[in-house]
């Protein structure tokens, strides 16, 4: 295929002083070219499939106007997670102690164990996670914590506005706690 006919046509004899030119093959080694081709193919395969963004779904409940219509979470099964600035996470179980005794500080690495522990120790019917981001938290934190719900298969969770007393506690704790690095 990739050859040209280099043999001389008529067998014409040259004179005694004229040297016969050497026949050179025109065949080229295509191996490096094949290598290059496949290298580029792998590059394109990897860049095409990796970049498609995914979407996580979120269903919100309707806001109940009447406080009596609202779903009441059983306090024994409730875990409230608060998000503050600099990736800080705070949580408490049940109802917040007025003195803040059960108010604990955490971060995105440790919160998973907290959720798993709580899930194990409570009745699945009563288990509910309440997420309260404060106004200094970032969008990434909110997504991370929602993701944490998906990872740990928490079926019932709610996003609620933070109460003023809780926000105060978060801010006071943030003043002392060193900034935690981002989880991922």
């Amino acid at each position: 295929m990739a050859e040209m006919d280099t043999s001389s046509g008529g067998g014409h004899k040259k004179g005694p002083g004229v040297k016969k030119s050497k026949k050179l093959s025109t065949r080229v080694d295509l191996t490096p070219m094949v290598d290059l081709g496949f290298l580029l193919i792998t590059f394109f395969i990897f860049t095409t499939t990796m970049s498609s963004p995914t979407a996580m779904k979120l269903f919100m409940p309707k806001d109940a106007d009447n406080p009596e219509d609202q779903n009441k979470a059983k306090e024994s099964g409730a875990l409230t997670i608060m998000l503050g600035k600099d990736n800080n996470v705070f949580y408490y179980e049940g109802i917040l102690d007025p003195a803040g005794a059960n108010f604990k500080s955490s971060n995105f690495k440790e919160i998973r164990d907290v959720i798993i522990n709580k899930k194990k120790t409570t009745n699945p019917e009563d288990f509910v996670v309440v997420i309260k981001p404060n106004e200094e938290s970032k969008y990434k934190n909110v997504i991370d914590i929602l993701d944490e719900m998906a990872i740990n298969e928490v079926k019932r969770y709610a996003m609620v506005d933070i109460a003023e007393s809780e926000n105060q506690l978060v801010k006071v704790s943030e003043g002392g706690a060193p900034a935690a690095p981002a989880a991922n």
Binding site: G37, T54, K57, K62, P133, I143, L146, E153
Partner: protein, 219 residues
């Protein structure tokens, strides 16, 4: 007895056919790759374990930049015009037909309603998240995302609408919260958040149920 001589065969293989195949595949991949169009609104999305690919049809995309500016874009042009029409009537914008047409040509909307006409005057390559003020959402009294969503909900009523929120990692929560409030007030309770894929951490319960092929929690 003389053994018949076996002719020594060359070990080089003709690479031409393989080269052909390689380059055929290469050209196929080059031609089918869609390069990401350079986006006017730059947003770095967070990552999540969600594995569903974001929809591309009937999309209303709300982007939130790290300064808390909100931008809205939609893919369906006729719906876009209808939404603008609705806004024109409900908010008494007094846009003329010519105004409407030039506004409908915008790829995305990133100004307060009253300034949308000015956005049409800016050249396309200069419309980006730096030059435009964004739809006001941080002010709870003048949350214009509510008006946009009301118009969108009425236009898309009865058909599928994919609400997508694309927030920046570093955008503050109140902007996202106000966008959610705008959804809620218009009874749009279902929306999706655009994220980058991420692998599920090993040993967690979602990881286990994925192994079992059990029920998905996302649905």
């Amino acid at each position: 007895m003389a053994r018949p001589k076996i002719p020594r065969k060359s070990t080089t293989i003709d690479m031409t056919a393989m080269c052909d195949v390689a380059f055929l595949l290469l050209s196929f991949f080059i031609l089918t790759t869609k390069f990401k169009p350079s986006e006017a609104v730059t947003v770095t999305t967070p990552s999540s374990v969600a594995s569903k690919v974001a929809p591309e049809k009937d999309v209303i995309l709300i982007s939130i930049t790290k300064d808390g500016k909100a931008f809205i874009s939609m893919d369906d042009e006729s719906k876009r015009e209808q939404i603008l029409n609705t806004l024109n009537v409900t908010n008494k914008m007094n846009w003329s037909d010519a105004d409407m047409q030039s506004i409908a040509k915008l790829e995305f909307f990133g100004t307060p309603l009253a300034q949308l006409k000015q956005q049409t005057a800016i050249p396309k390559d200069q419309q980006n998240d730096k030059s435009l003020p964004g739809i006001p959402v941080l002010d709870t009294l003048n949350n214009q995302m509510f008006d946009w969503m009301r118009a969108a909900a009425s236009v898309y009523a009865g058909t599928t609408m994919n609400l997508l929120v694309k927030g920046d990692n570093d955008s503050q929560f109140p902007a996202f919260k106000n966008v959610m409030t705008a959804f809620k007030k218009n009874e749009l309770f279902k929306f999706q958040m655009v994220t980058n894929p991420e692998s599920v951490p090993e040993g967690t319960s979602l990881w286990n149920s994925n192994l079992r092929g059990g029920p998905k929690t996302e649905e």
